[in-house]
Symmetry: C2
Amino acid sequence: MLKSTIAAMTLACAAVGGAQAQGLSQTASALSEKALTDKTAWNVVESLTTEIGPRPVGSPAMERAKDWGLAKLKELGFENVHAEPFTTPAWSRGAESAEVVGPYPQPLHILGLGNSSPTPPGGLTAEIALFPTYRALLAQPPGSLTGKIAVVTEKMTRTQVGSGYGGINPNRTAGPLEAKKRGAVGYLTRSLSTDDTRLPHTGGSAPAGIPAAALSTPDAELLEHMVARGKPVTVRLNMASSSNPAAQAWNVVGEIRGREAPDEVIVIGGHLDSWDPGTGAFDDGAGIAITTAAAKLAGAQPPRRTIRVVMFGSEEQGGSSGAYLAAHKDEVGKMIVTGESDEGPGPIWTLNLPKGSADHPAMGAFLTAIGPLKVIVDRNPSSRGGADIQGLMAAGVPLIDLIPDANRYFDLHHSADDTLDKIDPADLAQSTAVWTAFLYTVANSDIDFRKLAAAAPATPTR
Amino acid sequence: MLKSTIAAMTLACAAVGGAQAQGLSQTASALSEKALTDKTAWNVVESLTTEIGPRPVGSPAMERAKDWGLAKLKELGFENVHAEPFTTPAWSRGAESAEVVGPYPQPLHILGLGNSSPTPPGGLTAEIALFPTYRALLAQPPGSLTGKIAVVTEKMTRTQVGSGYGGINPNRTAGPLEAKKRGAVGYLTRSLSTDDTRLPHTGGSAPAGIPAAALSTPDAELLEHMVARGKPVTVRLNMASSSNPAAQAWNVVGEIRGREAPDEVIVIGGHLDSWDPGTGAFDDGAGIAITTAAAKLAGAQPPRRTIRVVMFGSEEQGGSSGAYLAAHKDEVGKMIVTGESDEGPGPIWTLNLPKGSADHPAMGAFLTAIGPLKVIVDRNPSSRGGADIQGLMAAGVPLIDLIPDANRYFDLHHSADDTLDKIDPADLAQSTAVWTAFLYTVANSDIDFRKLAAAAPATPTR
């Protein structure tokens, strides 16, 4: 193993000499410092949230967002700016309301989940069956929830890395199906959220053929207080929605073309679509802003390789990743690295490099440049990625993980609270600075992550 | 001045001797300590928010709240439990929505202000005229806003004492009228709030004959971002509402009757009605809970004087104070002191005693008892009170001000976010402990605040 590491190092040093690495690092450092005061990222997310706002796939707003993306990339000097069309299923919310009918009548704050069925005309009124954990729901036998609205009130945990969301994700995505299997006629989940506001958080769910919605966290607790009194609690849901099996969507693309190796492409981006309640600032206007601004800063002088920014067109309801891979399958072998910014405006607090690349001088130049930005280098190789680049990752494109602090992300995510005012411009600038340094060093070296990975020892374990 | 202070001290000491004051203080201290672990206040506000929820005056929920109040006071052992009916004008919200029509179409989150007019059928669509301060609106000449929706986006300041609300209050209460005077056809104000959620905060306004609503704070900032682009911004409002000129309301009353001087009455309380979006936990379930629990704790052994708890029935839209005074005008001369808890669950961080009472042994006993609770004694006499006791105050009833920390109050006040989960049980218990000690010492002494005030030197200035 030591031998292969040395071999990799030797290869790397042959490609990027010490003096060259030092030059890379100095310029990356200067660009990174510039990014800390540059206003491009802020201006991009301010523009998107102000001029477009909510932009669910299949909506007129998403078509306007596509036009916005094309215009913004051209305005910023990107080349080869174009939209790559595809179609994807799209669910759209209609009017929604919910209330406790008895014994303690009062309104509830809900937000339908993606792929929820509408309620029958006049609404759905049923007794609830409340479970404090999803596991408790799964433990119910078939038929045990017949005629009831199943309610899961499990609380999400706040973590820096956002792992609380992954842990509880099936409560939303699979909950409606599991409730239906047991006979339930409706499903409510406590929002997958760490906030305490009365705003519910939506998100996708597997189609289950029953109405399914998220409760705000105070509403989930309100139902717990009611149920604790021991009397049957009855809830009425009124939910409208529609589905389009083949909505028009677009991945919007712009490039800084490489001057020496233009077909060696770095593919980065975020997603342009958003859920409907907020203005998509954290999710994912920030990612669009960070990657667009970083590409512009890193490519201010024409780089060796091409930097491509993709504004993916259907992350929330799926479709971007497959469409992008299908359109670029002949090109993936030449893609140098990919990365997505889809966990908010940062700051970036840790990162995972592609396997075997940590000791390469180009990565040394990158890490030296971002020294002042206080990012922990995780010794495990990158593996996380984002939903829009799952296709590229599966096709073998090397991955960079630049991971923002997610402590606040799930206070806002998929709710009406996802708005511009929540973004700290300093955090956005720090994230942009990290991405800028990474893009500059990779685009101006000939680092080959595939070769480094092949030559690397087995992944170290923690 | 010195002479009159000494005279007051002498009077006071004649009434409550040193040993008696020590006994008062010891029992008050023990009761106050008991209040810190007693669950009554929590149980009261949990019950009200869970079983009743939103309870605007004139609604069926408010009638249920009246029945709840009567039952709760009886359950807790209060005597002379009854409802005192009165009628008052009541405004009720209907369906509401708002959106930017152009140039950047997207929804806005609003909440109609009390006494807002409905929009015409089909809604009201008009260009906005945005003012960053209320003062800037007032500077506009008559006719200058003809046909426009006036928007004021002034930001409220967070303060411990809640003074940021008072400072900006006319933006909501008088803004619609001032906009109308200048020709406006509609009025929007940034919520009088210190939060950053997408939930607007309602509240009363003087009837102006135009639709008037609060924007959530992110929506106010969104409009600022739009207007900064220099193009006319057009907004559509759809707002329904109705008004009842004489809605039925009730002040709900319960007493701990005094054993020696039952007609010497201490009148305390909070208000039972709430605005409609939240469950009225901070405003004012907490006040109901604190005063009810404190009266019960302080009156566990029959006190000398009567402690009366009033759950006022129409604070938010007015009426309670006048109705209570009118029903008790023959009794006000014998009321010992009054106080209202209507600024949230606490903790109580400062207090103002009735004029001239600071050196009285009974107040010394009270202040000694609450020593562990860390309350700053302001040297200015009480003057603040609450909306429901303005009538009593004007009629000369002495006042106690026990002032809770208001830092978080205006994040929640009058919004859907005013829910039980926001109450810290420890803060609620601390507030209850302070009220308990005050009620116990006053109810078991013969302190005469009117005499002390008459004998007191002029009010010290800071």
